[in-house]
Symmetry: C2
C-alpha cells in the first residue's frame, strides 16, 4: 500500500431541504459577499435561482452574479469571473449547478488570487498556493467536483481541455439535495452515472502491484451501488434513495477515497478530455462510456485477477472455468449496461470518425510530450488503438 | 435515507515514516507551542518519544509534557492537563499513543477553553463551542478516535465512564504509520480489531427502516477487509498491508462514513462502557467481543435481511433454505472469529459474574433516566438479558 494524504475538508450537507440552510451556513463561515455563479438558466426554471437569491437577501449577504457556464466550461467566462471577483472583492464563489459550474468556479477562485491567467494552472506552468473559498449547491450527480481536488477547463481559443489537481480545488462546503437532481434528463443522468463509475473504475484498475484491500472493497461496493441505482432512476426518476445513492457516490467516487494506497493516471479520462474538448457536442460521460470498454479489452491481460473480481462482484457474472471468458463477459456486460441506460457504445454514434483519431491521439499525448503510465502504458500507438477499438 | 452532515476535516498523513514530517506539518499550521500528551511510557521504549522530541526541537516548537494516560482515561489526569494547557498557553494538544491518549487530549482541548470541569461535557450538562486543536500520532488501530467526533472519559471519583460527541472532538491532523503498530501485543491487536468491527457493525445494524445502499456496501466491505486483516496480523504481526488495513479501517469505521443515512445508538458500546468503567481490567474491545453476539442473538429477528447479508458477505456463510439458521451461523462464526484471535467469549472469562449484572444494567440505563432505542429497544430488562446471555 502506497503512502497517501487523505484531505477531505469539504463539509457536506446532505438531504432534503438542505439548500434552505444556505444563508445560515454562509453566516456561520463569516461570509459577507459572494459571486453567485451558475449555468445557462435551468436553475431559473426550477426555482432554485429564486431560493438562492432569497437566502442571500434574508441573511443580508451581498452578492454579484455571473451566469452562462456551458458544458465543458470555457476559459473566456472564467476570465470574466476573475475580473468580477477581484473588482467586487467577493469572499466566496458560490457555484450552483453541475460539475461545469463548479470547475468554472474553482478556476475563478484560484485566478482571483494571482495577476496572470489561471490557464497557467490548467497547463501546469504554475501551481496555485491560495484561493477564494468555493461552495456548491449541486444539481446533478456526475463529476464529483464538489469534493474533488480537480478542475477541468476548456481553452476556447485553442480548444484544448485541461485538468489540474490541487488541494486549493477543495470546496469549503457542499449542499447535496437529491431532490434537486429529479429533473435531470435521462441522458444527462446516464452520463453522470457513467462518470461516477469511471472515477472509481479508473482508480480500481491501476497500480496493480500494490495491495489495498480496504480501498478495493469500498471501490467495488460503490460501483455495485451505482450500477443498481442507475438502473432504478432510469425507470423511476423521482426515486429518492436511488437519486441519493448517485449523488453521494458522485462525491465519494472522486474525493480520493476509492483509490487510496495506489497511484492512478486515469487514462480513459485523458483520452476522453480530447474528445469532448474537440467535439463540443460530446458529453464527458458519453465519451467515457464509449472509451472504457475499448480500453479494458486492450488492457485486461495486465491484471486478470482484478478484472475477475469486477466481473463477479459488480457485474454479477457467473463464474466459469474460463477466466478470460469471464473477464470479457464482465466488460461486455458493462457495455450493455451503458447501452441500457442510454449511452452510446461507439464513437460513430457521437459523430466522431476515423479521420479524427490521429489528431485525438496526438493531442492526448500532448504532441509527443507525455505518455500515460497505466497498467498498459498509453502512448500514441496505444491511444490510437483504443480510439480505433471504440470506433 | 436520512439527512446527514458529513464533516471529516482531519487531514490524514498515512504510511511509512510520516511521523518524520511532524515538525513541518506543525509549522505549516503555524503552531508555536504544544502539550505533548502520552501514556505510560511504551513510546519511550520504542523510540517514538525521542523522535517526537527531536522533531519538536528541530522545528523550534516549544512544548510541555504530560504522560501517564491509562486505559479508560481518567478525569483526574484531564484536569491536570487543562491546568497545564491554560497556564502554559499551548496552542495544540499533541496526542501520541492510542485511543485513550486521544480521548484524554480531546477532553483537555475542550476543557482548556472553559472555566468549569470538562466532565460537564461528558455528562451532557454543557455543550462545547470552542477547543484547542488536537493532533495525533496513533500507535494502535482500534478506537478510531483520530477522525471521530467522540470522546470517552472515566470519572475516577464516581467510576462512571461517559462519552460525548461534538464536532469540537475532530482532530486537526492525524499521522498514521502502520509500522508503529507492529509492536502492539496480540491481545491488544485483537481488542482493537474487535473495536473497529464494532463501530461499523453497530451502525450497520441500526435504523433498519431506512435504505442507504452505498453506506451498507461500504460498511460490509470494510468489515470483510478487517476480518481478513485481523487474521493475517495474528500470524504475521509485521505484515505491512494487513496492519495498514486495520489502521485505515480504524479511522474510517468511526468517522461516520459507515453509518451515513441512518441514525444509530450503539447499544453494545453503551453496555460495554459500564463494564470497562466498573472493571478496570476489562479492555473495551474484549468487552465488546463478549457482548455483541449476545445482543445479536436477542435482536436479529427485528432485521433478518440485514443479518443475512452480514452472514453471507462478511462471515462467508453458505446460503441454505433456512434463513434463521444462516443468521445464527453468522453470529456463531463471529464469536468463533473473536475466539480465534484471542478474545474472550463470556463475561466470566473477564471475571465479571451474575452478581454484577443488575448494577451494570442499572448504570447503563443511567439509573432509570434513559432507554436505548435500538432495533430492539434496550431498557433495563433487555440490558439485563444481554448481560445474562453473555455470562
Amino acid at each position: 500500500m502506497k503512502n497517501f494524504i487523505y484531505n477531505t475538508p469539504t463539509r457536506v450537507y446532505f438531504g432534503k431541504g438542505q439548500e434552505d440552510n444556505l444563508g445560515n451556513i454562509l453566516k456561520e463561515y463569516g461570509i459577507k459577499k459572494v459571486l453567485f455563479h451558475y449555468g445557462k438558466g435551468s436553475i431559473k426554471k426550477n426555482g432554485l435561482y429564486d431560493k438562492v437569491i432569497n437566502q442571500l437577501n434574508a441573511s443580508k449577504i451581498d452578492f454579484v452574479e455571473l451566469g452562462g457556464v456551458e458544458p465543458n466550461p470555457k476559459l473566456s467566462l472564467v476570465l470574466k469571473g476573475v475580473k468580477i471577483a477581484k473588482k467586487e472583492k467577493v469572499d466566496l464563489i458560490l457555484a450552483v449547478g453541475g460539475g461545469s459550474v463548479l470547475d468554472s468556479a474553482k478556476s475563478i477562485a484560484v485566478g482571483a488570487k494571482v495577476d496572470f491567467s489561471p490557464w497557467l494552472f490548467s497547463i501546469g506552468e504554475k501551481k496555485p498556493i491560495d484561493h477564494l473559498p468555493v461552495a456548491s449547491i449541486l444539481t446533478i450527480a456526475a463529476s464529483g467536483s464538489d469534493m474533488s481536488n480537480s478542475c477541468v477547463i476548456t481553452n476556447d481559443e485553442t480548444w484544448e481541455k485541461r485538468g489540474f489537481t490541487s488541494e486549493c480545488n477543495r470546496c469549503l462546503f457542499s449542499i447535496l439535495n437529491p431532490e434537486l437532481t429529479y429533473s435531470v434528463s435521462p441522458y444527462q443522468t446516464a452520463c453522470g452515472t457513467t462518470d461516477i463509475m469511471m472515477h472509481t473504475l479508473e482508480r480500481y484498475f491501476s497500480d496493480i502491484n500494490e495491495s489495498s484491500p480496504l480501498t478495493d472493497n469500498i471501490a467495488l461496493g460503490l460501483l455495485k451501488a451505482v450500477v443498481d441505482a442507475g438502473k432504478v432512476v432510469m425507470e423511476d426518476p423521482k426515486n429518492y434513495d436511488a437519486r441519493a445513492t448517485l449523488l453521494w457516490a458522485n462525491s465519494l467516487s472522486h474525493n480520493t477515497l476509492t483509490g487510496l494506497g495506489r497511484d492512478y493516471v486515469m487514462s480513459v479520462h485523458q483520452l476522453e478530455h480530447e474528445l469532448s474538448g474537440m467535439f463540443d457536442n460530446v458529453s464527458h460521460g458519453a465519451g467515457l462510456a464509449v472509451l472504457w470498454p475499448a480500453w479494458a479489452k486492450l488492457s485486461f491481460k495486465a491484471s486478470p485477477e482484478r478484472f475477475l473480481r469486477y466481473s463477479y462482484e459488480v457485474m454479477g457474472i457467473t463464474k466459469t472455468n474460463n477466466s478470460e471468458a469471464d473477464i470479457l463477459a464482465g466488460i461486455a456486460k458493462t457495455k450493455e449496461y451503458f447501452k441500457s441506460i442510454g449511452m452510446p457504445t461507439t464513437l460513430a454514434e457521437l459523430g466522431v470518425y476515423e479521420d479524427s483519431f490521429e489528431k485525438l491521439a496526438d493531442n492526448a499525448m500532448f504532441h509527443g510530450k507525455r505518455v500515460l503510465k497505466d497498467i498498459v502504458t498509453v502512448d500514441y500507438d496505444m491511444a490510437l488503438k483504443i480510439y480505433k477499438e471504440a470506433k
